[in-house]
């Protein structure tokens, strides 16, 4: 069997989720009631038998490290391989490289030592449930040097403006990677590459003073190599703004969308919290809502997502909102179209109403 090693490259990801990314990087933003964004990339890799995974982190990675631990939740606490969290090495005197190439340069050892023939590189903003072994299969059949993964989206949303798009021919060979605002072939920030070829490209990129490995080392040299496009057909969400976070979170209340992401045979896993089952009291009234463990619900909740350990008081009304871990909403508070980050407290009787398309966001540990 051909082995794949994984790199989750967060280096160039912008933290664009306003209050949600004040204190954490985008990869560590809580999602879908009990996960963090990065859980999807890691679980997909683990489910694809990728047993050696490096995370290239640069900014605000404290909560990310706390979340990932030694990779235990994904069975990645291994003697050989497993999970490596690699913040930048600020002190390497030989390192002249810039941008994310600095990461590739500093961590050549990870790439060279990994017991793998291929490297799968992914970001954390494309939420999906994908099997990278299928990608490898197609990569080999196409005899490609690099395989990039894309999603054909039905409808273009603002978040897709920031994404790269693919221009491909009938054989799914990539002709161009660009920012064509009309194209619906959204590059998912994931590519598969043979390890030795990657080594060579990294060295050449460093020699040329590049600063972004994918953009300059691969996209910039498309004519020199065979780049194949793999179409991912499953449930997909690109989360790179508060607006896309809110809309895509609430899409999970749809059964089809939800089941496309959370499958029994390729489960998305996350750090375990040991919360008790959710508790619904006599006067609770909950409709069309995702509820995580540890919640205690007295009030009325609809079209919302409650993360682990949220308390909803008597007579409180929550509509169309996302309430993160261990928030406390006191009696008779009213919330609509809001995103409330972890550990917030809304005192009794308060009302907060955001716009349906532009939710009101409350930063972590605030008391209102």
């Amino acid at each position: 069997m051909d082995r794949i090693a994984g790199i989750i490259n967060l280096d160039h990801e912008q933290d664009l989720l306003d209050e949600l990314t004040y204190f954490r990087c985008g990869a560590a933003v809580p999602f879908a009631g009990r996960y963090r964004m990065i859980d999807f990339a890691i679980s997909n890799m683990a489910n694809s038998r990728i047993e050696s995974i490096a995370v290239f982190a640069r900014r605000k990675y404290r909560s990310l490290m706390d979340h990932l631990e030694q990779g235990k939740a994904w069975d990645l606490d291994r003697r050989s391989g497993g999970l490596f969290i690699l913040p930048p090495d600020w002190n390497d005197p030989t390192d002249m490289s810039r941008g994310d190439l600095q990461h590739f340069h500093n961590n050549m050892d990870f790439i060279q030592r990994a017991r793998a023939d291929y490297i799968l590189v992914s970001g954390s903003q494309n939420i999906c449930n994908i099997n990278f072994q299928d990608v490898l299969q197609e990569h080999k059949e196409a005899n490609a040097d690099v395989t990039v993964i894309y999603k054909e989206v039905d409808e273009l949303y603002p978040e897709h403006r920031l994404a790269h798009k693919l221009d491909i021919d009938e054989q799914n060979e990539v002709l161009d990677i660009n920012n064509d605002q009309k194209s619906t072939k959204v590059y998912m920030d994931m590519y598969l590459i043979e390890k030795n070829f990657m080594n060579k490209l990294i060295e050449e990129s460093i020699a040329h003073g590049h600063s972004h490995f994918f953009l300059e080392g691969i996209k910039g040299r498309l004519q020199e190599m065979r780049v194949h496009a793999y179409e991912y057909k499953g449930t997909h969400a690109l989360v790179n703004s508060v607006e896309s976070y809110f809309r895509n979170s609430r899409k999970l209340l749809n059964r089809e969308e939800h089941d496309g992401l959370f499958k029994e045979d390729s489960p998305i896993l996350t750090k375990v919290k040991n919360e008790a089952p959710a508790k619904y009291l006599q006067d609770s009234d909950v409709k069309n809502t995702l509820v995580a463990n540890g919640c205690v619900v007295h009030g009325h909740v609809e079209d919302s997502i409650l993360f682990r350990g949220v308390k909803i008081g008597k007579g409180a009304v929550i509509k169309n909102s996302i309430i993160m871990q261990r928030c406390e909403i006191e009696d008779n508070a009213v919330l609509e179209n809001v995103i409330i980050d972890k550990d917030c407290k809304i005192t009794g009787g308060r009302t907060f109403i955001g716009a349906p398309e532009k939710p009101y966001v409350l930063a972590k540990r605030k008391s209102m």
């Binding site: 959370f262 008790a276 959710a278 508790k279 609770s284 995580a292 205690v296």
Partner: protein, 386 residues
């Protein structure tokens, strides 16, 4: 030389026949409770929270699921370099071997295990009860009173006292007599089956008891009476809080229902004394627009389209449109079809209830129904990690 002050020995070999088909293929301590736990999570979590990091789990009856569940103890933070959790089944020796013939015999046969840690005290636990208890406080009391043995007791209502083993004490709390299920109780202090012994004293009694041909090698029937007989210093330690023997279908159902009150005596949301368990790591539960949920505990991976009223729902349960689950306990991965009605029942793991089925009796105070399909109890489907 490294040693441990106190080592716990958890008696988990019991069959629990009064739980009927729930324990057909699993030992009683592995029976489900409270929406996500197994009974054994309570004593194991109590050990961890009490600072006891060395636990021997004595298994005998149907150990497969229990072994698998305990693993190396990481769910309870009991994966330790020195100590941690050890599963101790009966084994063969040069001069033969046998099953554990009684609770005292089970400890006797593991003297070598205990000697490894040179403990001063041994805590004996059973895997049959639901309670949160700080064993360290009991150990402090045991040491302060310089007792040879300390037995944890619970004040029970006088009218119930004849259903328990009752400890008769003097003013200082010293145990002067022990009555197993007395018709006319002299006291209302019931033994909880939690003992702390000085290990060197207990060891001597275990060795002596083993030589007695007529002994049943049982703590309650043989060891405690022998201590009393020799006037050994035995103290009663009074525990205050929720404690429940879940040895029957009715009491198991009742203990689950106890969790549904607004402020239950057994608080599972207390972050200072968490009950740990192996977590199935499934997605957040989904409550559909058609659902009505009140007075319920529901775990992750569930999908509720119907009505759940006054019930405890374990992980991975699907409840379809127009189904009703009332006053019931639904164990993991049960699928409940459309228009099903379930009243006052325990539904065993993995059961599939076809559309339009009616299970149980809606009459208040009617008997509790236990629904278990052939083999369904074996379906261990907790996917991954702890």
């Amino acid at each position: 030389m490294k040693q441990k002050e106190c080592v716990a020995m958890l008696l988990a070999g019991g069959q629990g026949t009064r739980l009927k088909s729930l324990t057909k293929q699993i030992a009683k301590p592995a029976v489900y409770f409270g929406g996500k736990y197994r009974i054994i999570d309570f004593p194991l979590s109590n050990c961890t929270n009490s600072g006891i990091d060395t636990v021997g789990v004595l298994t005998q009856y149907e150990p497969l699921i229990l072994n698998d569940y305990i693993g190396i103890g990481s769910s309870w933070d009991l994966d330790r370099k020195f100590g941690g959790v050890s599963v101790l089944p009966p084994y063969m020796q040069a001069d033969g071997g046998d099953w554990y013939t009684g609770t005292a015999n089970a400890i006797y046969r593991n003297i070598k295990f205990l000697n490894q840690y040179e403990p001063e005290h041994v805590l004996i636990l059973s895997g049959d009860h639901i309670y949160k208890m700080d064993y360290e406080e009991m150990l402090d009391y045991h040491k302060a009173t310089e007792a040879d043995a300390t037995i944890s007791v619970l004040e029970v209502p006088w009218e119930d006292a004849s259903r328990f083993g009752i400890m008769n004490t003097n003013e200082s709390g010293r145990i002067v007599d022990f009555d197993e299920k007395p018709a006319y109780p002299l006291n209302n202090l019931a033994s909880m089956g939690v003992y702390i012994f000085k290990w060197d004293v207990l060891k001597q009694y275990l060795i002596e008891d083993e030589q007695k041909p007529n002994s049943s090698h049982d703590f309650g029937k043989d060891i405690i009476p022998a201590f009393l007989n020799d006037d050994r210093r035995m103290m009663a330690y009074t525990f205050k809080g929720y404690w429940k023997d879940v040895g029957t279908v009715d009491s198991l159902w009742e203990a689950n229902m106890d969790l549904l009150s607004e402020n239950p005596e057994l608080n599972l949301n207390d972050y200072s004394w968490q009950i740990y368990s192996k977590n199935p790591n499934q997605p957040a539960q989904y409550i559909a627009p058609t659902a009505h949920v009140r007075n319920a505990l529901i775990n992750e991976g569930c999908r509720v389209h119907g009505t759940v009223d006054t019930s405890v729902i374990f992980y991975g349960v699907h409840i379809e449109d127009s189904a009703l689950v009332k006053d019931s306990v639904i164990m993991p991965n049960v699928k409940i079809g459309k228009n099903v009605k379930i009243y006052r029942s325990l539904i065993a793991e993995g059961s599939v209830i076809e559309d339009n089925t009616v299970i149980g009796n809606p009459e208040p105070d009617s008997d509790i129904t236990l629904h278990a399909e052939e083999g369904s109890v074996m379906a261990t489907n907790y996917a991954v990690t702890n």
